[in-house]
C-alpha cells in the first residue's frame, strides 16, 4: 500500500500545485517542496524495514496487487527491491534539486510547470515499482508526456524541435517494446492458456531462440534509446540542451536511469539466453558510446551540450557493466547510475545558474569567471572532477567496478574503454579552462551562489563524497537484487 501512496502523493501533489497557482504565483514551488518532503519521509519506511532485517532482504518489499483489466490478466502490481529503492531515493533527491533550480528560473505559468515536474517524477517512480508489464509500459509512457511539456513550453530557443524529437524517439521505440510485451504475453497464453502480464508469470516461459532474440531486441531498443547508447543517442543532446534546468536535471539524473533499470529488470531476467548471446554486441555498443561521446563532448562549445555528451559517455559504462554478467560489474553499474545522477544534475544546475546570470551557454562568451564567481567555480571544479572519475568521489567507484568486472569477460574491449580515462579529463578540464580561467570577458557584477543554491549543491557534494568514500552501504542495499539477477542468468 505504501508503494501506491508513493506514486499518489507525487501525482496529487502535482495537481495541488497546479491549482495553488490561483492563490499565489509563489505557492506551487513551496507546495512542490512539501510534497517532496512527504515523499522523502515515506521512504524511511522501506529503509527501516531493511535495517531491521539486517541488510536489505532479497524478497520483494511492500507487494501491492489489485486487478485492473482481468480480461488480459493485467494487474496493478507494485513491489520494491533494493534496486528500485535506491533509484527512487535518487529520484526524490533530484526532485528537490529540480525544484530548487527552477525556483527563480521559471517565472511564467509556474503552476503548470510544477505539475509537470511532479507528474514526471510520479511516472518515474511508477516505472521503478511496476511489476506488471502493462503497468510498466503505462508509467513508461506517462513520464514522457510531462517531460515533453517541460521542454516545449519552458525550454530554450529551439525547444519545439528538441521536444518533438525527444517524444518521437522515445515513443516509437516504446511501441517496439509494446509489441514485444504483447507477443511475449501471447506466447505465454499459447503455452498455458491464460493471459498474464505479470512479471513473475513471464519470467520462466519457454521461448524458442529465434522468438526470444526478436523479443529481446524489442525491449533492448526501447531501453537503449532511453539510456541512450550510440546509435540511438541523437535526441539527447538536443533535449538536454533545450530543456529548462529543472527538466535537464530530471532527464539526466533520473529518466536516463529508467533505461538502465529496464535492462536490469526486464531484458536480462526475461531473456537470459538471448541476452547472453547478444552481450558482445551490447558491450561493444557500450564501449563505443563511452569513447565516442567523450570525444564529442570535447568538441562542443555549448556548455549544456557538453554535459549532455558526458552523460552519454557515462551511460555507456552502465551498458558495458550490465552485459558483463557478473556481480562486480552489475554493482558498478548501479553505483554509476547513482553517481552520474548526482554529478550530471549538479553540472546541469551550474550550467543553468550560469545561463541565468550570463544569458548564454556558449563557453566562448564566458572565460575568466573564477574571480567573479569563486564559489560557483569551485563547486564546478569539484563536479567536473567527479565526472572525470577522481578517486574519492562517486563516479570513480562505479567506473572502477564496471571496468574490473568487464575485464574478466572481455579483455580487449575493456582495455579500449579504459582510454576514456584520458578523454574524460580532457573534456572536463577543457570545460573548466574555457569557462573559468583565461582572459576575462566584460561581465558586469554577477551574483555568486545564494543560500538556496549553496544548500542544494552542498547536498549533492555530500552525496557524491559519501558515495565515493563509503559505497558499501549502497552496495548492501542493491546486492540481493543483483545477486538474484545473476542467478537468473545461469
Amino acid at each position: 500500500m505504501i508503494l501506491l501512496v508513493l506514486i499518489c502523493v507525487l501525482l496529487l501533489g502535482g495537481f495541488a500545485a497546479w491549482l495553488s497557482a490561483r492563490w499565489s504565483p509563489g505557492a506551487p514551488r513551496w507546495l512542490a517542496v512539501i510534497v517532496l518532503i512527504v515523499e522523502a519521509l515515506l521512504l524511511i519506511v522501506p529503509y527501516s524495514v531493511a535495517e531491521q532485517s539486517n541488510g536489505f532482504p532479497s524478497t520483494w518489499f511492500g507487494d501491492f496487487y489489485a486487478p485492473w483489466i482481468p480480461r488480459f490478466g493485467i494487474h496493478f502490481h507494485l513491489a520494491m527491491d533494493g534496486l528500485s529503492l535506491l533509484l527512487i531515493t535518487l529520484t526524490v533527491l533530484l526532485g528537490f534539486m529540480a525544484v530548487s533550480s527552477s525556483w527563480t528560473e521559471i517565472t511564467n505559468r509556474q503552476g503548470f510547470f510544477f505539475f509537470n515536474l511532479l507528474a514526471c517524477l510520479a511516472g518515474t517512480v511508477g516505472v521503478f515499482l511496476a511489476l506488471d508489464l502493462f503497468l510498466f509500459f503505462f508509467f513508461w509512457e506517462l513520464m514522457i508526456i510531462p517531460m515533453y511539456f517541460l521542454i516545449s513550453i519552458w525550454g530554450h530557443e529551439s525547444r519545439t524541435y528538441a521536444a518533438v524529437k525527444f517524444f518521437i524517439f522515445t515513443q516509437v521505440s516504446s511501441l517496439l517494446m509494446l509489441l514485444a510485451i504483447v507477443s511475449l504475453v501471447l506466447i505465454h497464453h499459447n503455452n498455458s492458456g491464460i493471459y498474464s502480464f505479470d512479471y513473475f508469470d513471464l519470467l520462466n516461459i519457454a521461448l524458442n531462440p529465434d522468438a526470444a532474440f526478436w523479443l529481446m531486441l524489442g525491449f533492448f531498443i526501447a531501453f537503449t534509446v532511453k539510456l541512450p547508447a550510440v546509435p540511438f543517442h541523437t535526441w539527447l543532446p538536443d533535449a538536454h540542451t533545450q530543456a529548462p534546468t529543472g527538466g535537464s536535471v530530471i532527464l539526466a539524473g533520473v529518466m536516463l536511469k529508467t533505461g538502465a533499470y529496464g535492462l536490469l529488470r526486464f531484458v536480462i531476467p526475461l531473456f537470459p539466453e538471448a541476452a547472453h548471446q547478444f552481450a558482445p554486441v551490447a558491450m561493444t555498443l557500450g564501449a563505443v558510446s563511452v569513447l565516442y561521446a567523450a570525444a564529442m563532448a570535447f568538441a562542443q562549445s555549448d556548455l549544456k551540450r557538453l554535459i549532455a555528451y558526458t552523460s552519454v559517455s557515462h551511460m555507456g559504462f552502465i551498458l558495458l557493466g550490465i552485459f558483463s554478467w557478473n556481480l562486480l560489474a552489475l554493482q558498478g553499474s548501479v553505483i554509476t547510475m547513482l553517481a552520474h545522477g548526482i554529478s550530471a544534475s549538479a553540472l546541469f544546475m551550474i550550467a543553468g545558474a550560469l545561463q541565468e546570470r550570463l544569458h548564454t551557454r556558449e563557453m566562448e562568451n564566458m572565460g575568466g569567471l573564477w574571480p567573479v564567481l569563486p564559489k560557483l567555480s569551485a563547486l564546478t571544479l569539484l563536479f567536473a572532477l567527479a565526472s572525470l572519475g577522481l578517486p574519492g568521489l562517486g563516479n570513480f567507484i562505479g567506473e572502477f567496478l564496471v571496468l574490473q568486472g568487464a575485464f574478466s569477460v572481455n579483455m580487449l574491449l575493456t582495455s579500449v574503454t579504459t582510454l576514456v580515462l584520458i578523454l574524460a579529463p580532457v573534456y572536463a578540464l577543457c570545460m573548466m579552462q574555457k569557462t573559468f580561467y583565461g582572459p576575462r570577458y566584460q561581465h558586469s557584477a554577477l551574483a555568486d551562489f545564494n543560500r538556496r543554491e549553496w544548500l542544494s549543491l552542498g547536498l549533492l557534494v555530500l552525496a557524491t563524497a559519501w558515495l565515493g568514500l563509503s559505497p558499501q552501504a549502497v552496495l548492501n542495499v542493491s546486492a540481493p537484487a543483483m545477486q538474484s539477477s545473476i542467478e537468473m542468468e545461469r
Partner: protein, 476 residues
C-alpha cells in the same frame, strides 16, 4: 412478422416516427429549438427501446434484419454519437440566419440509415440503409447553402458516393448471380458448401469492398475525404467521421463473419495492402497540412487503416477477439473524433470555420480548458496511455500479433511515429506564448457539457477499461 419481431424493431421505428414528428412540427411552426428538442427526445426514447429489446435478443426480425447483441451495441454507439453531434449542431447553428429546422430531421434520417445498416442481414436492407445514410449526408454537408465550400464538398460527396453505390450494386449482382441468395446467411451457406474459390463471388466481394472503401475513405478510395471534411460544417464533419464510417465498418465486419468470406485468403491480402497504404498514406499526407480539419481527415484515413489491421487479423484468429478489438477501437475513435471536431466546432461559427492552424495559436492560455480537452483528444488519437486511444491501440497490437501480421505491425508503428509529429504540431501551436486577446466568451454550454462528458469517458476508459471490456466481450 409476429409481435415479438415488431417489438424488436422498436428502436428503428422510433427513429422513423421522430423524423416524421419533426417534419410535421416544421409544417406547423418553424422553431429550431423545438426541432432539436424533439430529435433529442426521439433519440433518447430509441436508446431506451434498445435497453428493452436487449432482454430478448437475438431476434431475426424478418429476413432483412437481425437484432442481436452486436447490432444493439453498435446502434447504441451510433445513437449516442448522434446525440452528441446534435448538441454540437445546436450550438453551431443557433446563431445562424436562415432556416435551420431541417438539420435535426436530416440527422435523424442519417441515424436511421446507419441503424438499419448495423442490423441488416440481407443485401436489400444493407443497400437501403446505406442510401438513407448517404442521401441525408449530401444535404447535411451542403446545409449552409449560401457558401461555396460546403456546396463544393456536397457535390463531391454526391458524385463519389453515387459511383461507390454503383460498385456496390454490381458486386451484389455478381454474388446473387452465382449463389442465388441475397441474405447473408444464405450466402454463407453457399460459401461453406463449396470447397474451391469462385471467381464470380470473389469479384463480387471485391466490388463491394471497393464500394465500402469509399465510405470508409481507405487509400486508394480516399480522395474525397480532405475536401469534404474541410467543406462541411464542423459538427457534420464529426458525424461523417464517426457515424457514417462506424456503421459501414460494423456492417463490413458482420458481412465477412456471417458469410465466411474470411475463407477467401486472397481477399485478406487485398485488405492487408489497403490497410498498409491507408496507414502510411494517411499519415504521410497529414504531415503537410496546415488546416486542422484536413489534418484530422488524413488522420482518420490512417485510423481506418489501423482498424483494418485488426480486421485482417480475423483471417487467422478467433472472431471474438476481432469483434472485441474493432468495437473497442471504434468506440475510442468515436469519443476522440467527436471530441476533436467538437473543439473545432465550439471555436467556429457558421461564417468562419476555425480550421487554420494559426487559429489555435496560444489557445492554452486563452481557453485553457478547451485546449486541454483538445490535447487529450490528440493524445488519444496518437494512442498514448491514460486515454481510451491507447487501449484501442493495445487491442490492435494484440490481435495483429496473435494473427502474426508482422509487416502490418511495422506499418502501424511507423504510422504512429509519423502521426505523433502532426498531433504534436497542433499541441505546440496551442502552447505557444501569445498575449490574451479579446475572444468571445464561451456560451455554448451544451457543447461544453458534451465535451466534458467525452473527456471524462476518454480518461475513464483509458485508465479503467474493464467495465467496457466486459460489455464488449458479451457482444462478441
Amino acid at each position: 412478422m409476429n409481435i415479438n419481431q415488431l417489438f424488436a424493431l422498436a428502436p428503428i421505428i422510433t427513429l422513423a416516427g421522430t423524423a416524421i414528428a419533426i417534419m410535421l412540427g416544421i409544417a406547423i411552426r418553424r422553431n429550431f429549438v423545438s426541432s432539436c428538442a424533439i430529435a433529442a427526445i426521439g433519440i433518447v426514447i430509441s436508446l431506451a427501446a434498445l435497453g428493452l429489446v436487449w432482454r430478448q435478443i437475438p431476434v431475426q426480425a424478418t429476413v432483412l434484419m437481425l437484432m442481436d447483441a452486436y447490432a444493439l451495441f453498435y446502434m447504441a454507439l451510433l445513437l449516442s454519437a448522434g446525440l452528441a453531434v446534435l448538441g454540437l449542431c445546436y450550438d453551431y447553428f443557433k446563431a445562424r440566419e436562415g432556416e435551420n429546422e431541417e438539420l435535426p430531421l436530416l440527422l435523424l434520417t442519417a441515424l436511421l440509415g446507419a441503424s438499419v445498416l448495423v442490423c441488416s442481414s440481407h443485401f436489400a436492407s444493407f443497400f437501403v440503409g446505406l442510401e438513407i445514410l448517404s442521401i441525408s449526408l449530401f444535404v447535411l454537408i451542403g446545409y449552409p447553402l449560401n457558401q461555396a465550400r460546403p456546396l463544393e464538398a456536397a457535390i463531391k460527396y454526391l458524385v463519389l458516393s453515387g459511383v461507390s453505390s454503383a460498385f456496390l450494386l454490381m458486386g451484389m449482382a455478381l454474388i446473387y448471380a452465382q449463389c442465388g441468395e441475397l441474405s447473408f446467411s444464405g450466402i454463407g451457406g453457399y460459401m461453406t458448401s463449396r470447397q474451391d474459390m469462385n471467381a464470380m463471388v470473389l469479384s463480387g466481394i471485391l466490388l463491394i469492398v471497393a464500394g465500402l472503401g469509399f465510405k470508409l475513405s481507405l487509400v486508394p478510395f480516399h480522395l474525397w475525404t480532405p475536401d469534404v471534411y474541410e467543406g462541411a460544417p464542423a459538427p457534420i464533419t464529426a458525424f461523417i467521421a464517426t457515424v457514417s464510417k462506424g456503421a459501414v465498418f460494423a456492417l463490413l465486419l458482420r458481412f465477412f463473419i456471417s458469410t465466411y468470406s474470411y475463407d477467401y485468403a486472397p481477399l485478406l491480402n487485398v485488405f492487408g495492402v489497403i490497410a498498409g497504404l491507408s496507414i502510411l498514406g494517411g499519415n504521410l499526407l497529414a504531415l503537410l497540412q496546415n488546416n486542422v480539419k484536413r489534418l484530422l481527415a488524413y488522420s482518420s484515413i490512417a485510423h481506418m487503416g489501423y482498424l483494418l489491421v485488426a480486421f485482417v487479423a480475423g483471417g487467422s484468429i478467433s472472431s471474438v477477439l476481432v469483434v472485441e478489438s474493432v468495437s473497442f477501437y471504434l468506440l475510442a475513435y468515436f469519443i476522440t473524433t467527436i471530441g476533436a471536431f467538437g473543439v473545432v466546432s465550439v471555436l467556429s461559427t457558421p461564417e468562419t470555420e476555425a480550421d487554420d492552424l494559426s487559429f489555435y495559436r496560444g489557445l492554452f492560455w486563452r481557453r485553457p480548458w478547451l485546449a486541454a480537452i483538445f490535447t487529450l483528444m490528440l493524445i488519444s488519437l496518437a494512442g498514448i496511455p491514460l486515454t481510451a486511444g491507447f487501449i484501442g491501440k493495445f487491442y490492435i497490437f494484440t490481435s495483429a500479433a496473435e494473427g502474426r501480421l508482422w509487416g502490418l505491425l511495422v506499418a502501424v508503428i511507423v504510422g504512429s511515429g509519423l502521426g505523433l509529429y502532426y498531433y504534436l504540431r497542433i499541441i505546440v501551436v496551442m502552447s505557444t506564448n501569445v498575449e490574451a486577446t479579446g475572444i468571445k466568451p464561451a456560451q455554448d454550454w451544451i457543447s461544453n457539457a458534451i465535451l466534458a462528458v467525452l473527456t471524462m469517458l476518454l480518461v475513464w476508459l483509458g485508465v479503467y477499461p474493464s467495465l467496457l471490456v466486459n460489455v464488449i466481450q458479451s457482444v462478441s
